[in-house]
Point group: C2
Chain length 397, copies 2
Amino acid sequence: MTSLLLRNVRPMAGANCDILVKNGKIAGLGRFEPEPGMAVEDGGGAIAIPGLIDAHTHLDKTTWGMPWHVNNRAAVLRGRIDFEREHRTEIGIDPHRQSMRHAIGLAAHGASHIRSHVDIDTTHGLSMVEGVWKTREKLAGIIDIEIVAFPQSGVMVMPGTVELLDEALRQGCEVLGGIDPCGIDRDPKGQLDALFALAVKHGRPIDIHLHEVGDLGAFTMELMFERIRANGMQGKVAISHAFALGMNDYLRVGRLIEELAALDVAILTTGAPSATVPSIMRLKEAGIRVGGGCDGIRDTWGPWGQPDMLDRAKVIGMKNGLRSDNDLAHLLSVVSQGGADVMRIEGYGIAEGCNADFTLLTGETLAHAVVDVAPRPLVVKGGRVVARQGKAVVDMP
Amino acid sequence: MTSLLLRNVRPMAGANCDILVKNGKIAGLGRFEPEPGMAVEDGGGAIAIPGLIDAHTHLDKTTWGMPWHVNNRAAVLRGRIDFEREHRTEIGIDPHRQSMRHAIGLAAHGASHIRSHVDIDTTHGLSMVEGVWKTREKLAGIIDIEIVAFPQSGVMVMPGTVELLDEALRQGCEVLGGIDPCGIDRDPKGQLDALFALAVKHGRPIDIHLHEVGDLGAFTMELMFERIRANGMQGKVAISHAFALGMNDYLRVGRLIEELAALDVAILTTGAPSATVPSIMRLKEAGIRVGGGCDGIRDTWGPWGQPDMLDRAKVIGMKNGLRSDNDLAHLLSVVSQGGADVMRIEGYGIAEGCNADFTLLTGETLAHAVVDVAPRPLVVKGGRVVARQGKAVVDMP
């Protein structure tokens, strides 16, 4: 079923109209009568926006739907990484089952696209990626999943990882990941040279986790800028978290942002409340592409999060101190259009000719909708209804 | 109905037992048979904790349940204060109706007690307090409400306010409020001298809003410490927000915390994600009484928040970077026992002889329960069931 007449909705909180879908695309916005045999839905006057996008998450590592994972371990990043790698199998975090739960949860809450980092390391090889690939196949038509080959345990510090990343890209991972070249790898030149060489070899974009704060993170960004220029990778690099952009040095941050804009580097934020985070309004002023993501939800790292991009928008919005309706409307665009900008999704939007991927939201205005975090009345993917009232049409395993 | 047999619960996530209630008090924890005519409830194995406590909120100013309030005004504190005072009546923010909605929402989500700051100013006099008093009467037996006479618009900068605060305390407001003696009043000596004189005159505690950050807030705290010593008000002062304690100066903050402990000053936090906030774990180590609060929810100041202390615990917990089960259990105590410590609530707790004020929580452990933010299965106040599955027994007006 890829044809649909969705009546009585307000695209982007504008005037009430119908959305006509044919062959999985939006055939028109206006007033229409159904063709024979066409599915018809009443949107009840709800707001319609393009599908929400979780542009930074970790489908392979959630414990969602599993028994509560008790965690009283020390709060050390390297310890979290090693504990997870060493114990994920015995804990029972099956990457296919868990990525199914996570992705179905996101779809149920209105998401149409996911960019997921998936762990690749010398203990598990590509098995996490294989689990998520299986999920991607099973959820085809429900939600699109893009996979970042992610060296969670480090690159240079874990010999053999470069070869695994090479193989993952060869097998079809869309994006190359990386992580804290200084903080985790202790060898920023080594990791960044290796990553950029792989990206160039496979013609793939880079999306690197950068938790490094202050001057350290700024230094790593500068090393990235040099390599983007040297390799002609303008427009093909994203930095996730980018905590250094939250440092309290207005001018220094301004110079970093100028470079991000000049090199068309995208930023992905999760609004981490306890960290220093980039200002989404300052990035907007500079014309930077910015998406949002849930990050890990309820995993061995920490208990917070849920598979819902409006819940995440609330976290990002509160952390950014957003209050005005105009800013809240922008917040909603970060977790929708912003993700599409980062992932370069073709045909994204609510207009004739766009993909028929959209979600309904309750609320009077876009600001009201993003603050309310109410169940999504209806979620449509490729013209097919995939969730109603917060419940997906497919069951979680 | 103040007698009740609540079967099959786990007090504080411990061993399964029954809670026997007689005359509004807990008569015992163990296994019991109902007496003739006694109400019996099955807790379904849920966790039971004492009632949640919203120890810092603003019942008189929410727009909850009203049409969405569009706000594109400048983000200036003085502007927010003045806009609200000048326009709240025309917007239709009736303090009685709105405080009913807010308080019933809190009760529906498991709260047994509220400390609400209520605006007192030279435009509206005591009319906001009168509206909330009416709510307190109507909700007697559902939720307890303590009122702080709160000079939202300033004290010295709004002549006539001291006299109104004096009258409010005379009429029975339990606590004297204050706000940013430097930032709002531009006269820290003036405001603090006036407040401490009123508090001494009426024998009432003080709970002051202190948004002042860094060295400015630290200065104001020092002025407060001097007056607490001079007036013998040890144990009778609370500081709400206390953003200065979130400044990035470990030793300076340590000296302030030593003084807080020495003078038994309580801290109330809302975990404001975009601000610098006190570390609840550091305050715990110092033995400081710490409660949590929702602050304003969906008002003319900003759109965020909802009447649910577990939702607020999530905000406080994420902002404080809490992840371990032990820390999450402490987080739950901040929004329950911590509020009772600050408000000096007698008979609070789950033990024989305590008030029969408790809420059931779903989840395997205390940490799981505070992270899950699921509907509360059952809420009991004074032995009476006041909410089931997130729905109060009284309707919102």
